[in-house]
């Protein structure tokens, strides 16, 4: 995989089981700087699990993960330091309901990165404005639409100036008419050169923003490559079957 710049994230032979059920079975993949990799695969194939492993929210059983060439899955590496270099946007937003929109965005800055309140809030306001949320700073998350909440979550993940963003099906919980505004925010990040892993079911979107598509099937990356190749002329039989099923369901 000799693309783009040096890899920011490298996943090598990662294995992860929950009890008896092995979800990841030797996953290999990397993400170069400024590159967006779309992670596709059936429901339950382990996309969320893989992203959680990268952010050290789950402990892997075997293999290694590197961030900027340094191993992060070694027991001697403090997970907190690693997480401060990564941003995650969760499938279900996971905003903090007891805090205002602005507080959600600045919490990590103030408590983890030790940025002063003034500076953190100034940056937070600018970020919210960038994602079309100016004027909503003092609202509670519950007062926002799903699309707005997800954009707050994106702003929150981005606030820590991460080396890479991990986006977990950021549109799957949204009504169709709200999908566009969230994808627009992701496009904006891509244009700004953000390194990203995007787990998604939106093939059209994957084709548009991703530099690389990786297909996760039965715990392995079965196929990966440029979107055009993977989505239109897949080599692997499994990829073909997956895409055919999506087409039937009217999602491709």
């Amino acid at each position: 995989m000799a693309r783009g710049g040096p890899p920011v994230i490298e996943v090598r032979g990662v294995t992860k089981a929950f009890g008896e059920r092995e979800v990841l079975h030797g996953v290999d993949f990397d993400v170069a700087e400024h590159e967006a990799v779309a992670l596709i695969g059936a429901s339950g194939s382990g996309k969320s699990t893989l992203l959680r492993c990268i952010d050290l929210l789950e402990e892997i059983d075997d293999g290694d993960i590197f961030l900027d060439g340094e191993v992060i899955t070694d027991p001697s590496v403090p997970p907190v330091a690693v997480r401060r270099k990564l941003g995650v946007v969760f499938q279900a937003y996971n905003l903090f309901p007891h805090m205002s929109v602005l507080q959600n965005v600045v919490l990590g800055q103030m408590r983890a990165q030790k940025v002063g309140r003034r500076e953190a809030e100034e940056e937070g306001r600018a970020l919210l404005a960038r994602f079309g949320l100016a004027g909503r700073e003092d609202d509670r998350p519950e007062e926002l639409s799903g699309g707005q909440q997800q954009r707050v979550a994106i702003a929150r993940a981005f606030a820590g100036k991460p080396r890479a963003l991990l986006l977990d099906e950021v549109t799957s919980a949204l009504d169709p008419e709200l999908v566009g505004e969230v994808l627009e925010a992701v496009r904006d990040l891509k244009a700004a050169g953000m390194t990203m892993v995007i787990a998604t079911h939106e093939m059209a979107f994957a084709r548009e923003v991703a530099d690389e598509v990786a297909f996760l099937h039965q715990g392995r990356i079965v196929e990966s490559g440029p979107p055009r190749q993977v989505l239109e002329e897949p080599h692997a039989e499994e990829t073909r079957r997956f895409l055919a099923r999506l087409l039937e369901a009217g999602r491709a």
Binding site: D55, V80, R83, R84, N94, F96, L107, G108, A112, A159
Partner: protein, 279 residues
């Protein structure tokens, strides 16, 4: 069609409002009548009972009330003070116990085991027995430095008992906060401790505020239990009075003082949508 459309809404609306008023009047009438019948019936039953003149004299004597009230009130002030101190201690200790119990780090295993035992034992023993055991057991040890004041000992017993209950309330609250909240807090770079403090606890405490308040009402009443080891709190004072004058009015006075505190608290619990009644 157009005609009905323009005139009908107004007419229907007046009709509906009239019906609503009729219904409200009728409901108020029924409520009033049934109250008169039930309360009046009970009053008549009590007031015409053969023992009523004696009961009125021994439980509701105005002169006894006036005589005893200042001292009962004085005793009740002690109840209030004990309640406030115990309450504060319980809130803190219970929180510490709850945090230890939800923590999974292996280093804390011994402390975790200890807290589990604490909760099981002190919550499992009737409060009145704890008051008795601490009140008479601790001084019997004759150890230097241990408190001997029955007020302090009674307060300690209440603290032990209630911190057991309240820590379980906290723990239920902490466990009710979705795991995704901790994940999100960790993902923005917070430590486990910071995630607990800034994200999980604030949500947990908000959620369990009604049951917490419920336990306070119960504690407020249970302060009277320390009377069995001697302190001159409201019930004790009233009891002494009753023993001397063969009149129960002071106990009624003490009961009324309790109600002055517990009824407003109960209303606050109701307002917060509190689950379960007052114990």
């Amino acid at each position: 069609m157009t005609e009905t459309a323009t005139t009908a809404p107004g007419a229907r609306r007046l009709e509906r409002e009239a019906a609503k008023r009729r219904r409200a009047r009728r409901n108020a009438g029924i409520a009033a009548a049934s109250s008169v019948i039930v309360i009046g019936g009970l009053a008549a039953l009590i007031l015409t009972s053969p023992g009523w003149p004696t009961v009125r004299e021994t439980f509701f004597s105005w002169s006894e009330f006036r005589n005893a009230f200042p001292e009962v009130l004085n005793g009740f002030w002690l109840d209030i003070k004990v309640f406030m101190v115990v309450e504060a201690a319980v809130l803190v200790i219970a929180l510490v116990i709850a945090m230890i119990r939800v923590n999974r780090s292996p280093g804390l295993f011994p402390v975790r085991l200890l807290s589990t035992v604490w909760v099981d034992v002190f919550r499992g023993v009737p409060t009145v027995l704890l008051v008795y055991l601490v009140g008479f057991g601790v001084p019997a040890l004759e150890l230097e430095g241990l408190p001997t004041d029955p007020v302090v000992l009674g307060g300690i017993a209440l603290t032990l008992s209630y911190s057991g209950y309240v820590s379980e309330v906290y723990r239920a609250g902490i466990n009710s906060v979705h795991r995704g909240q901790t994940d999100a807090a960790l993902s923005v770079g917070l430590t486990q401790t910071q995630a607990m403090r800034h994200v999980v606890l604030p949500q947990a405490i908000r959620r369990v505020a009604p049951p917490l308040l419920n336990d306070f009402v119960a504690l407020q009443k249970d302060v009277a239990l320390i009377s069995i080891i001697g302190p001159q709190e409201a019930f004790r004072v009233a009891q002494i009075y009753q023993g001397e004058n063969f009149n129960y009015t002071p106990i009624i006075a003490a009961a009324m003082l309790y109600l002055v505190i517990t009824i407003p608290l109960a209303r606050i619990v109701d307002r917060m949508g509190g689950a379960g009644g007052v114990r």
